[in-house]
Structures are given as C-alpha cells and as structure tokens.
C-alpha cells in the first residue's frame, strides 16, 4: 500500500491534512520495543490521535498464500486533536470528523482507543469540538487573550502524520509567515496528512491555533501550513459549551467504548494484507452482541471478515476446511459472525450497502474465502 493516500482538497491550492485513505500499516502488529527516551512537551501530552471510519470498500488482492482474496478496506479518517479541558473536551479540524460513522481517540503512548463524541461543528470555519470518555489531566488551555504574534516568530505543531501505528505525536516547527485575508495564519512549516486538527503553539507552549491545511504539493506548493487562529478556537469552544446539546452531558454508554476499540482494531489490522490478531477476538465477539445500528453491524462484519482472511493467510491455507483444531473453529466463528451481522444489517438498515458494499458479498448464497481461478 502506498503511503499517504489522498487528502481532502479544501481550498484552491491548499489541501486538508486528514488521511482520507488507508495509511501504510506494518505487516504485523508490533508492541513498542521500549519507552521513548525523548520527553514529551506538555502540548504533545495533550495531543491525541483521532481515528474514524466513514465506510469501506472491498478490494481483491493476491495473498501471501498465493490465493486470491477479497478483503474490506476501510474508508478511514485519521487526524489529530488537542485536549483543551480536563473534562475531555478536544478541539480538532472539522474535516477530520465530517462524514464519519465511528470516531475514537487514542492518547499518546497508548493503544487503547477512547470513546469520542462530536459535540459541536463550526459551520463557518474548519473547527470542531469533541468530547472523549476520559478525564484528561494533561491539557493545553485556551488563552483568554490572543498572544502577540510577530512575523518570523517560531511556531511548533504536534500531530500524528502518516503512520497509523506510531504511538507518539510528531513535532514539527516553522516560522509564522503572514496573516491571510481569510483569517487563517500561514506558517512556513512542513505538515503532512494526519496533522489536521493538531495544536500549533508558540515558544512558550501557548496555543496559537489549530492546523487545518497545507499547501498542495501537487500544485508545487511545499512547506506551507495554515492554522485556524486562536480567536476562532475560543469562539467554537464557547459555542460548544453554550449549546453542545445532550452530547455534552449525557452519560457514556459501555457500547461507545467498545466500538471505539473496534474502530481502532479494524484500522490497525486492515490493509491490503489484513493481520490476524487473536487479542482482538473478544472485542469482536462483544461487538457482535452489542451492534444495534446498521453501521455498527457492518463494522463488526467487516472486521470479522478481515480477521477471517487474516487467519487463513497466517496459516497459508485457501479455506477454513484446510485448517484444523482451534484455528478451524476460530475461522468458522469469524466467518459466521461476519455473515450473520451483514445479514442483519441488510434486513434492518438496507441503506448501509451503499457505503459498506460487503453487505452484498456476505449475503450471497455462497460466500467464499478465496477468489477462484477463472
């Protein structure tokens, strides 16, 4: 899989920094070898990775086993957010969350995904406020006064560009270039897909804005980033607090945490060659029991199907009938779960087929785990 995927064009000559396609994922999930010896700044500690799913596609490929396979390739949204309030309020870029069926946050250095709700969307500017199911001791407070900015001043950003499996945010810095007519602030700084929604801070670590766009390399623009300024961030927070609706105060449901973890598992284990991870099975089984909406059912079905294919590939066999013992039982369980959930989704929410085409594949009379030779 090629690395960066597409990015969302927002303005002429500028592109958003959400990774709107799959990122390169290592062939096998790997635990970090050691804790980093590099200390995180306060802003990095408050910078969270955001992962979302807005649908999925089905794709054919030739597996390591030599058999043709069809797997589910998630339409993912990967970006960054910054915790600005200990109640778990997070500011990000609007385009990071637009269109998602599922959203989750992952804190720096952690693997566990945290349930996340969209509280408020700024209709005018590329900003959104989220709430994560977790008290957040590390925050980057929003200054009540705009810091005095100066051209050529050093600005630093934190975020999660490119690689899905990296556990710590990446820092990048540059110079303040100029204020733009549209109110954005232009920074001479190299940011990448995945940086969208991340915090930009001054030399003292004070928040000065949210990274939302970069110059489009396809148009010859490089090393240019744009941030939504602090005044707009403050305004969207005020609006979110004022009328964030039930999402601001409603108690969390256990199901939200479960599906947050499933989203992260699905994205981590899905690529052109999906990974089988036995540790994800329990969450998958729970997801099968708890899935209510068509989207939830299809998330579980998609993940289960990929795990089924991943297991066959890990054992280098064509079909589950070629497996024995626990492996066979597990492959059968995953396949049955995928088919059962897809069937439920098709019956209860037929519209999901438009964004989750796996529905049709798994509800055909014959569901095969390999693509036959012609």
């Amino acid at each position: 899989m090629n690395a960066t995927g597409a990015v969302l064009a927002l303005l002429a000559g500028a592109v958003g920094l959400t990774v709107a396609a799959q990122l390169t994922v290592a062939a096998k999930a790997q635990a970090p070898e050691a804790a980093p010896v590099i200390r995180l700044r306060p802003v990095d500690q408050a910078t969270v990775r955001l992962v979302g799913v807005s649908g999925s596609a089905v794709a054919a490929y030739e597996g390591r086993s030599g058999h043709g396979r069809v797997i589910v390739s998630p339409s993912s949204r990967l970006g960054t957010g910054v915790v600005v309030d200990p109640r778990g309020l997070v500011v990000t870029a609007r385009h990071v969350v637009e269109g998602v069926d599922f959203l989750a946050a992952i804190f720096p250095g952690e693997d566990q995904a945290v349930a996340t709700r969209v509280l408020h969307i700024d209709l005018e500017h590329d900003l959104a406020v989220l709430r994560v199911k977790r008290d957040a001791p590390r925050t980057v407070p929003i200054p009540q006064q705009d810091p005095e900015l100066m051209l050529s001043q050093r600005i630093s950003a934190s975020g999660y560009p490119l690689e899905l499996r990296e556990r710590y945010p990446a820092a990048v810095s540059g110079e303040l270039s100029r204020p733009r007519n549209d109110g954005l602030v232009q920074i001479a700084m190299s940011v990448n897909p995945g940086n969208s929604g991340g915090p930009a801070v001054d030399e003292q670590g004070r928040l000065v804005g949210i990274v939302t766009m970069r110059g489009d390399p396809g148009r010859g623009v490089q090393g240019v980033a744009f941030i939504e300024p602090l005044a707009r961030v403050r305004a969207v927070m005020v609006a979110a607090e004022a009328d964030g609706g039930p999402a601001l105060t409603a108690p969390w449901r256990e199901r939200e945490a479960l599906f947050a973890q499933l989203v992260a598992d699905f994205l981590r284990t899905s690529d052109e060659q999906p990974v089988y991870e036995a540790t994800a099975l329990d969450a998958l089984r729970a997801g099968g029991r708890e899935a209510r909406t068509g989207e939830q059912q299809m998330l579980v079905a998609s993940h289960a199907w990929n795990m089924h294919i991943g297991l066959l590939e890990a054992r280098r066999v064509r079909a589950l009938t070629d497996l024995e013992g626990d492996d066979r039982e597990r492959a059968q369980e995953l396949r049955d779960l995928a088919v059962r959930l897809a069937t439920r989704a098709k019956e209860s929410a037929p519209y999901v087929g438009l964004r989750y085409p796996l529905v049709r594949a798994l509800t055909l009379p014959t569901v095969r785990s390999w693509v036959p030779d012609r």
């Binding site: 959203l103 408020h120 209709l123 979110a240 037929p350 055909l364």
Partner: protein
C-alpha cells in the same frame, strides 16, 4: 431538451406518475434519442415487445432483432450474465439488454464502461465519447446517459446513444446507433425516441421509488437523487423544485408523508458548495414567517456534520426541525404534529434520528 422526458422513460406506474412528472431534472442536455414521446403506449410499426427471460424490463425491439446471451467473469470470480435483443431497423441498429452478477465476493453490478467493447464489436473503426451524464432518478435508479461518436471503417460517421439504468442488482441498457444523417432524420429520430420511451423497468430492482405520501408501515427510504436515507411511516411523495442561489439554479428535493394530524418531510438542498451559518438563520426564519415561535434551538450533529436541532410552536401545533449541513448539501428534517403529545414525540424523534446522509 425538456427535463420531464427523462422521467417518462422509466414509465412509472400510475401511482408514481405524479411524482415523476413533478420532478424537473438536471440542466445539461440528454441524448436526443432519449427524448420520449409523451404519454400513451409506444408503438412502432413492425416492432414487437421484448422481455428477457431473466426479467428486468420490457421494451420494443425491431421485428428482425435476434436474441443474444453472453457470459463472462469479473475481477472477483463472479460471473456476469447479459441477456438481450439486438436488431436493425432501417439504417439504425438497436440493442436492449439486462446484466446481472452471479456469485463472486464483491458482487457489484457491471460497470457501463466494462461493456463498451460490445459497441466496438459492431465494426466501428473508432469511437469517441461525446458526453456522459450520470444522475439519479426519483424512481430509484442511477441513470447513465452517453453519446458516442463512432466511425465505420468506410469512414461513415455514426451517433451511438446509450442509456443505462442501474438498480440494486441489475444494469438495464439501451443502445441505438445510426448514421449521423439518420440521426437528424425526423422518422429515425422519432423511432429512436419511441425505442427509449418504450422501456418499462421491473420495479423490484429500484432502490427507492417514490409513493403517494400517505401513512403506512415504517420502512427505510433511500432516494438516490438526494443522497440520504431515513425511516418513513409510509412511502413519501416526491417533489422536486429549483431555487436560485448566487445566480445559479439549484435543486431542492422534498419527500413527504402527510396524515390527518401529522406531517413528516425531508428537504434536500443541492447547493453544490459548502454553506455557512447563514443557512441556519434561513431555517429559523421560514417557520417564523408562518407564525411559529422558537421553543428550542441548539447544536446538532450527525455523522460528523454540523447543524441545529430546533422546535417551533404555533397554537397547539409543534414542529421539529433538524438541520444538517454537509459540504455540498443542506438537509432539513421536519416533523409536525400535535403539541404535548407523547406519541407524536416518539414518532418524530424516531424519524429524525433515523436520518443518515449518504453523501
């Protein structure tokens, strides 16, 4: 070309005729051959009615037409089956077919482009696509129109008109090809129009045909042209109108259920660009002009898109509004019924909460 002709091609059942004729359509021109004769049954002397043995549609074909059946494979190991009839009438040839997928894992309907080679097999030395247009019909099909300029080895220029209807599982396709001179001949043009106008699609493959808007059992409704899905208590009536926005005509799709003390409706505004907070003020304003007062007004989000949740009251009538702003569309989800009525509340919130944008 008049917009209505496109919808008449689908030949909706009488119960849907009103909704179809009420719809205007896209602005750009459709193939001349796609202009249907208006009303009444279509007749062409010497032609007969044809229906494939695997179903899907019925239409007229030339008397000298011959049936054909093709099978093949697509990428994931699925088989496709194409059944149709092709024939010659004067200087023009016609083809009507239906394609379905059997087996496979991906299992999508065969794409139009995959089958263009069929046209090439008709001895054209060169083909060049002039126009292609894809739109959604209120009857629940994705409609693909294309005009292809073809050249015979002899150098004679042809015009090839395609029209495809893509449903849930089938792709129905009509093709008419004729020399350029014949395309401008009134008799040939009328014959081609009648051919396209004779198509009657099986309704079972339609994604979400519109209805008469009277209350009935709850069901998911997913109009392709407006890009959303919602559970309606019945099959909504469809009306399409236009409005002017920044010097351009834009479309509004409206889907409505109306009972004795209940109205539920969705309006989908096709702005084609991102709208800002000004649409919120417009949404607030319209009920006020009808005498409603604002009872509640707060932020609302759905699928990561932003909007407002509003409640209005006028006398003993309550109106709920959910407004959702996407990068290209604005959706309004309305429910109107008796105030202080728990049954209405349950129904209205169930309706509003079922809404999904599919853009």
């Amino acid at each position: 070309m008049p917009d209505e002709s496109r919808d008449q091609l689908v030949r909706p059942s009488p119960s849907r005729a009103a909704s179809a004729s009420a719809s205007s359509a896209n602005a750009s021109a459709a193939p001349a051959a796609a202009t249907a004769s208006s009303g009444g049954s279509v007749r062409i002397p010497g032609w007969s009615s044809y229906r494939p043995d695997i179903g899907g549609f019925r239409c007229l074909v030339p008397g000298r037409a011959r049936p054909f059946r093709e099978r093949g494979h697509v990428v994931d190991g699925a088989r496709f089956v194409k059944v149709g009839m092709a024939g010659v009438s004067g200087p023009a040839f016609y083809e009507a077919s239906v394609q379905v997928i059997e087996g496979g894992i991906v299992g999508d309907v065969v794409d139009l482009r995959d089958r263009e080679d069929v046209v090439r097999q008709r001895s054209f030395a060169a083909l060049e696509t002039r126009t292609t247009e894809v739109y959604r019909s209120p009857e629940g099909y994705q409609v693909i129109d294309a005009i292809v300029d073809g050249t015979l080895p002899t150098g004679e220029a042809y015009v090839v008109y395609h029209r495809s209807y893509r449903g849930r599982a089938r792709l129905v396709r009509l093709v008419a090809a004729m020399p350029v001179a014949a395309a401008s001949n009134a008799v040939q043009a009328r014959r081609a129009r009648s051919f396209f106008g004779s198509l009657e699609l099986d309704e079972d493959d339609a994604a979400s045909p519109a209805g008469d808007g009277t209350p009935g059992p709850w069901r998911w409704y997913q109009p392709l042209e407006a890009g959303f899905a919602a559970r309606f208590p019945g099959t909504p009536r469809y009306v399409s109108t236009t409005f002017r926005h920044e010097e351009q005509e834009r479309r509004v799709h409206r889907y409505e259920i109306e009972g004795p003390e209940l109205r539920l409706w969705v309006r989908a505004y096709d702005f084609g660009e991102r709208m800002g907070a000004s649409v919120v003020e417009l949404a607030r304003q319209a009920p006020r002009e009808e005498g409603f007062t604002v009872v509640e007004d707060r932020a609302w989000t759905r699928q990561g898109y932003g909007g407002r949740a509003m409640v209005f009251r006028k006398g003993d009538v309550r109106r709920l509004l959910r407004l959702l702003v996407t990068p290209t569309h604005v959706f309004e989800i309305f429910a109107e019924g008796p105030d202080e009525d728990a049954e209405f509340d349950e129904l209205a919130f169930g309706f509003a909460n079922s809404f999904r944008t599919l853009r």
